[in-house]
């Protein structure tokens, strides 16, 4: 009996919690289109802000 109750309750609770969450997320993403969800082929717009670290050319390291 408790098992059946639990299943029902779990379903109800999931719907209760997840429903608004998913709906809210969809609503938010409609309002603010996500930038970093863009497909990986397209470079991110804000990449230019970051500083690219490159290794030195022709330098010889001592150890590492």
């Amino acid at each position: 009996m408790a098992d059946t109750n639990r299943t029902q309750m779990a379903n109800r609770a999931t719907a209760l919690l997840a429903g608004p969450f998913l709906l809210g997320r969809r609503a938010l993403s409609a309002l603010f289109p996500p930038e970093d969800e863009a497909p990986p082929e397209q470079p991110r717009k804000d990449l230019g802000r970051g500083i690219t670290v490159t290794p030195p050319e022709h330098a010889i390291k001592r150890r590492g």
Partner: protein, 1003 residues
């Protein structure tokens, strides 16, 4: 979940029975024995498992289950923290870069004429730590605080990131076209081009500029170092007929006389290494040197003197020449042509004012110098007037000192030449002016006149890193690489040194030399494609056989004494100086302008690490107050922090004053390099003292007839130490050589420490440290090294004023004795890693605890910030993040972080960790090699940074380790040992070798 009791197998006859029915094993009884609830106890309609009423909806268990699930879901949803960034692996890993493994490159750094061969540690391609090049025979792995801190300048957010013309960002082709056009125009018009650079220590750069001169004959080059001391340059020209560099060789010195020379201020790692070697004595039988200091302001060298005599700089000349005359009287021959007839024989009267038993002091000084002979050396501070330099040259020549090397050097432009250049510019003589790594609009004493003159030049170009006062006047701004992005080479006395980039350029910048190579090509000359190729080409022709350029780059140097004829001393040159010295009269207050410990000539003013490193003497940060003697302050009614107005030749500065014990009466001292008007960090920090510099190169840094008055108001000084006396406590022990020989522990008895508890055991290692106070001069290199290694945040002047600086290691400086000429001691103070640490037991959350290797360790993540540990620390070495100092930092500043050390947020306590990341690094490597850790293999950042080798770190479990042996030395003691905290740091008592009483004769 529904559960049932397990089905029993066939029942055996019960051994124990409750009822007769049970014994007889009636079916009812059997069921009753199995059932938890006897028939009748639970109504049959009830749940047969829980014995609860039938439920239609919601059980207690369900309720709790649901609550738990809801909490878990809520927590999961809430866990999405914003702005955490993403960790992405390299898609194409750069060759040489292995994540998590540090690379080391040998390179070199130049500051003024001085060259520092360095080793640069990079992580994931980012240079994060600078230390000395261990292969270099001179510096032996040590370097200066400013060199170490200069890695931060690479990541200065204020750096110019692309060329600019007329305030507009342009591309390099356009920028180069403008530069080349201007130079070509000047050549065609036959008008001179003025190039002002810093000191030339690089042979390749010199060759490059002569190449430029070949294609641009109208080029006029001035090498300008505003803080290097024009008087020294003047004196060298007079005494040797050419520019020289005076390099002390203190390993050979038994007696050192400093005439205002601050050679122990951290700038010269070779001098500090030699000093340390002569002072780290095992027993009193070892020979010690003796340092005599005669100076006006109190310098770091003065604080380490065995005998210090306060004499105003204007009177140093007569004293020094009197010494020469005295030595001559003792039979030391004067150089040919030297005429000291202007100098009265005997002890100069200045000494009588300065010290009580002047006669004894004078005679022992003369005797010391005379006896030491070739092993005596006289050093003169660059800020002293030219005649003092000449006297020092004379004395060294008379003693034929081996402890100093006078090397020919590239000449520097003095203020006189700058004045001439300014006149030329004002007259419209120059077609173009190029500033390369210099900032005369700030450093030239008459800045307004200078700017007016520069404005008259048609084409003004600037090559540099951060826009400054000079760039503000230039049309064309050419952003230059940081030295860690550049190529170069230098000559040092014991090796030729190479500079190589340790990182690709961060921004669209170029090396200055590359720009001139381009100019040579544009002007029709021959030049290789890049400065790298230029250097490689030059080196390959001059490398000794068996050495490849790659090997030289790997080592960072090629050993070999620099060739060249030592310039000869001209004896006749000093006669005029001697006369001048005798005629100079003190008038009013005299002012000494010296390069700032942190800022030098202002080039480091935008470096927050250096700005926050306390001045070794005054313990000031973020400011350059005027130091005045206690006597003058009393006479003028000035108190610490009072604003004063300092007037000199019509220039008046309003700045705070501090009282400096030990400073000679009538002498003022002020640091240069502050009061910049540009730079995010540098702007409005301190007061610009360059306007007070003189236009007479013979005494540019030493000015007379200054006047001082109270200006009203008081400034809260950003000082890291506000109490300067030891209050008679046994904190810093100092022994004379006599005491060292007879009774090193003196009246101090090791306290009897009784405990009820079991001794702690350390199964594998027990890390410990020994700090030799006799070798430590207080130069603060350890402070900067620690800051760089451990991501120690900078808090700013307001927070320092409120006692919230974050340095994990501080140098305590105490004055003892009279205010006029106190004895000064320095003591590095850091977490003592006590075995009975008072901080550990009071932390309610166990955030600080003891490792089984004797480390007192902090779990930053666990710390909630009750600050109880810091209250209970008798050494007050714990540092609390009162505010958020780190999380707002962005690139490029964050690139300077050491990835192996956690960056601490606000509200968290932190402190010295004994560089646990370095210990673990060595442990991992030793384990990988399947061997034990070697003694000396683990170095803390402070130990590695200490040029005097005053700090020794190691394993106390190993009785043969250096640290174990030093721990039982006769000079050893522990600070506050009587508290029973069992510190892991042992101090070795300071040693003084006074001349009059208690010293051993050095010779």
């Amino acid at each position: 979940m529904k559960t049932r009791l397990p089905e029993h197998g066939p029942l055996e006859t019960p051994r124990f029975w409750r009822t007769l029915d049970e014994r007889l094993e009636t079916p009812e009884a059997q069921r009753a024995a199995q059932d938890e609830f006897l028939p009748g106890a639970v109504p049959t309609i009830y749940d047969d498992v829980h014995g609860l009423p039938p439920q239609d909806g919601f059980s207690r268990r369900d309720f709790f289950g649901l609550v738990g699930a809801a909490a878990a879901v809520a927590a999961t949803v809430a866990c999405d923290r914003k702005g955490q960034g993403k960790v992405v692996p390299y898609t194409r890993r750069p060759v040489e870069v292995v994540p998590g493994v540090a690379n080391y490159y040998a390179s070199a750094y130049q500051e003024g004429r001085r060259v520092y061969p360095v080793l640069v540690k990079t992580r994931e391609g980012r240079p994060i730590l600078v230390s000395g090049n261990d292969e270099h025979p001179g510096v032996k792995g040590k370097t200066s605080p400013r060199a170490m801190a200069d890695v931060l300048r690479l990541y200065d957010p204020d750096r110019l990131r692309a060329p600019k013309s007329g305030g507009r960002i342009i591309g390099w082709p356009e920028a180069e076209a403008q530069l080349h056009g201007a130079l070509k125009g000047a050549r065609e018009a036959g008008k001179p081009v003025l190039l002002i650079t810093g000191a030339q220590a690089s042979p390749s750069q010199k060759a490059l500029l002569s190449g430029l001169k070949a294609v641009l004959p109208t080029l006029e080059h001035l090498a300008y170092e505003p803080a290097s001391g024009d008087a020294a340059e003047e004196a060298a020209r007079a005494c040797f007929g050419q520019a020289v560099e005076v390099q002390p060789r203190l390993t050979k010195a038994k007696v050192i006389l400093s005439l205002g020379a601050d050679f122990l201020n951290g700038e010269d790692p070779e001098a500090l290494a030699a000093w340390g070697a002569k002072r780290r004595l095992k027993d009193a039988q070892e020979t010690i040197n003796r340092l005599w200091v005669i100076e006006g302001p109190l310098t770091l060298t003065g604080t380490n003197a065995d005998v210090r005599v306060p004499v105003a700089p204007s009177r140093l000349g007569p004293v020094a020449f009197a010494l020469a005359k005295g030595l001559a009287g003792l039979g030391v021959p004067l150089p040919a042509g030297t005429d000291l007839s202007a100098i009265p024989a005997g002890m100069p009267p200045e000494l009588k004012e300065a010290t009580k038993d002047a006669g004894k002091v004078w005679s022992s000084l003369l005797k010391d110098l005379h006896h030491a002979g070739r092993n005596a050396v006289v050093l003169c501070g660059p800020q002293m007037p030219a005649e003092v330099h000449q006297a020092a040259h004379l004395l060294n020549a008379m003693l034929a000192s081996e402890a100093v090397a006078v090397l020919a050097a590239e000449p520097l432009a003095t203020v006189k030449e700058l004045e001439a250049a300014a006149k030329g510019m004002a007259e419209g003589r120059y077609a173009a002016v190029v500033f390369w790594g210099v900032n005369p609009a700030y450093t030239y004493p008459r800045a307004a006149a200078w700017k007016e003159a520069v404005a008259k030049v048609a084409f003004r170009a600037w090559i540099g890193q951060v826009e400054d006062e000079t760039s503000a006047q230039c049309q064309l701004l050419l952003p230059e690489n940081h030295w860690l992005e550049s190529w170069g080479d230098f000559t040092t006395a014991s090796a030729a040194v190479l500079q190589q980039p340790t990182i690709g350029t961060l921004y669209d910048t170029r090396q200055g030399e590359d720009l001139f190579l381009g100019a040579i090509k544009a002007l029709g000359g021959q030049a290789p494609a890049s400065y790298h190729a230029f250097i490689q080409g030059r080196w390959q022709t001059s490398l000794p056989s068996g050495t490849s350029f790659e090997q030289a780059l790997h080592d960072g140097l090629v050993k070999g004494e620099a060739k060249g004829v030592a310039p000869a001393f001209r004896g006749a040159s000093v006669s005029a100086a001697a006369k001048a010295a005798m005629q100079s009269k003190a008038q009013g207050l005299e002012l000494v302008l010296f390069p700032g410990f942190a800022t030098f000539d202002g080039r480091h003013a935008n470096n927050s690490w250096l700005q926050e490193t306390p001045d070794p003497i005054t313990k000031m940060t973020w400011d350059n107050p005027l130091s005045l003697s206690v006597q003058d302050a009393t006479a003028l009614g000035i108190q610490e922090g009072d604003f004063v107005s300092l007037t000199l030749e019509g220039t008046t500065l309003r700045l705070p004053a501090i009282l400096q014990p030990g400073q000679t009466k009538g002498v003022l001292a002020l640091a240069l390099g502050y009061g910049r008007s540009t730079g995010g960090v540098a702007r409005n920090v301190g007061t610009n003292a360059f306007p007070l510099m003189g236009l007479d190169p013979a005494r540019a840094n030493h000015r007379m007839a200054a006047s001082l008055a109270k200006a009203g108001g008081k400034k809260e000084l950003s000082r890291t130490q506000s109490h300067h006396r030891m209050e008679g406590r046994d904190l810093v022990r100092s022994l004379t050589m006599e005491e060292f020989a007879h009774d090193p522990q003196g009246h101090h008895h090791a306290p009897e420490l009784v405990t009820l508890y079991e001794e702690q055991t350390f199964p594998d290692h027990k890390w410990g440290m020994v700090i030799d106070l006799a070798a430590c001069v207080g130069c603060s290199a350890c402070v900067v090294a620690c800051q760089s290694e451990n991501n120690v945040p900078v808090v700013g002047p307001e927070q320092v004023a409120r006692g919230r600086e974050m340095h994990w290691i501080r140098i305590d400086r105490y004055y003892e004795g009279d205010l006029e000429n106190p004895k000064v001691v320095h003591q590095p103070m850091l977490c003592q890693h006590c075995d009975n640490a008072p901080c550990e037991n009071v932390c309610p959350v166990n955030a600080t605890n003891h490792s089984n290797e004797g480390l007192n360790q902090m779990a930053y993540n666990r710390c909630v910030g009750t600050r109880y540990c810091a209250n209970n620390c008798p050494y007050k070495v714990r540092r609390f993040n009162f505010l958020e100092y780190t999380s707002y930092k962005t690139e490029p500043e964050t690139l300077a972080y050491n990835p192996e050390v956690t960056v601490r947020p606000r509200g968290v306590m932190e402190k010295c960790s004994f560089c646990v990341q370095r210990i673990n690094d060595v442990k991992i490597r030793a384990k990988g090699d399947g061997r034990a850790i070697l003694d000396g293999e683990v170095t803390t950042a402070c130990m590695a940074g200490c040029p005097a080798d005053a700090i020794v770190f190691g394993d106390l479990k190993d009785p043969k380790s250096k640290v174990s042996q030093l721990r039982s030395a006769s000079r050893a003691y522990r600070v506050l040992e009587e508290l029973g905290v069992k510190p892991a740091i042992t101090y070795l008592a300071d040693l003084k070798n006074p001349a009059v009483e208690g010293g051993t004769h050095a010779v």
